[in-house]
């Protein structure tokens, strides 16, 4: 039986008003963006204590812009817009576009938002792992403490938990542009329309004058309570040439921990396929950066 039965719908028309409403209602309120995850959470009984819904659709947080090379994505931007925008083609954050394009089914792609995807704190979603890999920053605001910027590293805390406080609102996600940098996202699901059994996103940056990697970020999803970085593989690759051999070696270093099992994939299977996903994501990113 669905007990989720909110009685108040708030539709603030400014960020300030939204922040004040969040302060007023506290944990009794939930923000709705694309209305996709919240539906499933409600079905699972995870929102029984919620009596107020705050709809952000009037805040004009639906935008994609670029300045200083960085990509600024409003929290209410839908996946379909991210997938089709011609501003998201830059290699450094191309993985975000790839993740948006690969989100199925199209009905969800048309409704779900990047902010909602990040704030849900669901570790097998495609966008959190991607945002971690491309070194995104999260802009949040609250009526008491104003704006703050959070690194992707610090944003995801646990299953369904992010660093955002109950009265805090995510407004924008910024994807930095790095020179000679490239990213990629890959996913393994059971069927075409499926959550990831495992997903991976990578971002590599080459030194300015030679083909050696100065920065490598490899993030994995659906393996722990948050998206998580494969540090051993990253450390191995830094300072190395992006050769086929190096990538295969790095990918095989895998994880330093047991990936969490799910209904559809055991820990053993995840361990078995993670190196393949990491390898493929690195190959794709390297091919892209060397091509230019």
């Amino acid at each position: 039986m669905v007990r989720y039965n909110p009685t108040v719908l708030e539709r603030p028309s400014s960020i300030n008003e939204a922040a004040q409403l969040l302060k007023k209602w506290g944990s009794k309120a939930r923000i709705v963006a694309g209305n996709t995850t919240i539906y499933e959470l409600a079905n699972q009984g995870g929102l029984d204590d919620v009596d107020t819904v705050i709809d952000l659709s009037k805040l004009n947080l639906n935008y994609i812009t670029r300045y200083d090379g960085s990509l600024h994505i409003g929290a209410m931007t839908r996946f379909v817009e991210l997938a089709s925008s011609n501003l998201t083609g830059n290699d450094s954050y191309f993985a975000a576009k790839e993740a948006a394009m690969k989100l199925t089914p199209p009905q969800i792609r048309n409704m779900a938002t990047i902010g909602g995807s990040a704030c849900s704190g669901i570790p097998f979603y495609d966008m959190p792992v991607t945002l971690l890999a491309i070194d995104a920053e999260f802009h949040a605001t609250s009526s008491d403490e104003g704006e703050r910027t959070i690194k992707a590293e610090d944003f995801f805390i646990d299953y369904f938990v992010t660093t955002l406080r109950a009265e805090e609102l995510l407004t924008e996600i910024v994807c930095p542009n790095k020179e000679r940098s490239s990213s990629s996202f890959v996913k393994l699901g059971r069927t075409t329309i499926d959550f990831a059994l495992v997903n991976a996103a990578v971002n590599i940056t080459l030194e300015p004058k030679r083909n050696r990697m100065s920065e490598v970020r490899i993030a994995l999803g659906a393996v722990a309570a948050t998206p998580i970085r494969a540090k051993s593989a990253e450390d191995f690759l830094i300072g190395q040439e992006p050769s086929r051999e190096n990538i295969i070696k790095a990918a095989s270093l895998g994880l330093d921990f047991e990936p969490s099992p799910s209904l559809h994939a055991s820990s053993k299977y995840k361990k078995r396929v993670i190196p393949i996903l990491v390898r493929d994501a690195l190959f794709a990113a390297v091919n892209r950066v060397l091509r230019t």
Binding site: M1, E40, N43, T104, P105, L188, R190, T191, T192, I193, D194, F195, L263, H264, A265, S266, K268, Y269, R272, V273, I276
Partner: protein, 714 residues
Amino acid sequence: MSIDTSKTFDIEGVRAVLIGTDFPKPSTEDTPPLAYQEVLYANQGVLAVAAETRVIAEIALEKTEIRYEELPAIFDPDQAMRTDAPVQISHPGEILEAPNVGKHVRVYRGNVTEAFSQADHVIENTFRTAGESHFQLEPLTFLAQADPDGGVTIWGTSSGPHKTQVEVANYLKMDPSLIRVKVGFLGGWFGSKEESHVAAVCAALALKAKRPVKLELSREETLTATGIRHPAVIHIKDGVSDKGKIIARQIRVIYDGGAYGSLSNSLLNNSVIVAAGVYNIPNFELNGYRVYTNRVPGTPKRAPLGYQMTWAVECQMDNLASTLELDPLEFRRLNILRNDDENVLGEIMESISHEKALTEVAKAIEWGKEAEPDEIWSTGKGLAVGVKWGPAGPHQAMVKINPSGRVEVWADLIENGQGIYTGVAQLAATEFGIPIKSVTLVPFIRGSESETTGLSGGASASRQLAAVGKAVILACEDAKRKVADKAAERLHIPPSDLMIKAGKIFSKTSNHSISISDLFTQASVLPSKLATSSFVQGNDFVGFGTVLYELGTIDNATGQPNGPLTPYYVTVAQAAEVAVNKETGKIKVKKIAAAMDVGKAINPELVRHQIIGSVVMGLSAALAEELSFSEGRITNPTLADYKILTASDIPIIQPIIIETPYKGGPYGAKGAGEPSTVPTAAAVRNAIHDAVGVWLNDLPITAEKVLEEMDAHA
């Protein structure tokens, strides 16, 4: 279990409350409307409340106190069959030969033991199928209203109004003629709407509340509480000669049918028909068990219990071919049943085309032609062949000719997306030589109604075109005879010299003719020209047709049936081409060629779509669908966790129609709705073996299972 409903009425707006013991004591093994004193499976209905609004009903449910005393439960059919099983489930009227064995069927032919001792190879394997949901789009929904004569009318998601009528009458111990059932278009069913316990709850609430009551199950309730495809464990032991002839086969199959008998017990013969109808094997034994456990009852899903058997037999066939180092196609040909062969049930096979179907599908995927080698994706091809049975019982139809020549067909026809209205209208139009638009199918206009249409088992067993359609043709012939008799009087020509076409009656030997409208008398029902009506003096031009299939039963002592178990066999064969990712185990099905012998394709386009739809369902079962259980509870009752294939996962499907006429069918046609779902999973599994050399014996086949097997054999 004790239920205290004293507070259920505390909230205003509650109109009726029912618990299991408000219904007559169960008298059969069928799932009762609500649990009767004991709950036998998780999510079984225990309490029903009718209220002015849904919210009031939900509050009333919460105010009701239900206390359970936890009793031991059994979830594993193997354990359930042991003599010391801690739980023994049985139902009124049942005498079980062993603990929890709702039904046992035994077939025996020749001498299996002796043949095994003479065989060059004896090979045995165990195969498993998963519990599945039907996942039809439309969940179970009923609306009921008390009638002034003490009866009740039920509108709802039923696979057949007559079946629901008699089942609800039995649940409520009422005269069946007081139960009226109307069925409109269904949003798919695949067997999920076969049983009537939910309809009985709705009807009983309406009778008690004296108000119309709507009862709509959620997706989750439909999935967890009303029946699943029977999980099965099938063990096959074969004795084969070096030359590739199967000389003995022994099968032991156990179906987990859940806590109630429902349709599982009566359907056990389906597995026999499938095991008997494909290969020519001189020595044969089959023991089939339908076992009770404390799980949601099994209910028919597209080719019930035969689907599971085909999976096992067709997997085993490739294992045998591999041991003998024979081509799987050649090995099947060496053992296949042909027309005029006698099968292990003593039936002489007719109107089958197993060999032709196999040959056609093999050709369609270029059997024997190797794919280009690829570093990551390994390609393979696989085959499977199978049969599907036909319906049992009575089927009636009535046809009425109107003065304009328009023909009305009154028959129990359920349209659930397959195009049955088109097919049957074609039959009547052909019989009368009129365009299809001059046929009125009454169920199309009014829904299928228990009180106005002839008897039928509804849509189950792919019976509608084959059996109801045949009854419609017989009714057309009867009506035409009556027209001819009347025309003969008027034309002074013997009726045998007359034929009917396009609204006219013609002499076959002279140029005399008369139109049907001229056989009617014109008269006014009121003194007004506008109120002039036509009628037939004497006999109405109404024809009736009945088809009755009386089938045999198996005597376990002799191991043989006392008559045919099916009116006909439908041949199906499929060939699959798959690619397997050697690194992740992921399976991409590239193509399925699917042949079905429908006897006669009344509407070839609709037949092709039945083939495609069946293959899609078969693929989804092969690669994705599985209900997970924990202590008898289904743990994945949502689409987020219960995986089904969708359009983007579906490969090229090439339907191939074969026509070997069946003399009892309309123009030779047989039922086409279910058969093509039977061989898909085995064809894919055999192709996976061809690609990467591993055998997968348990459904569904997942990437993880493939990779695990590959690692184990590396």
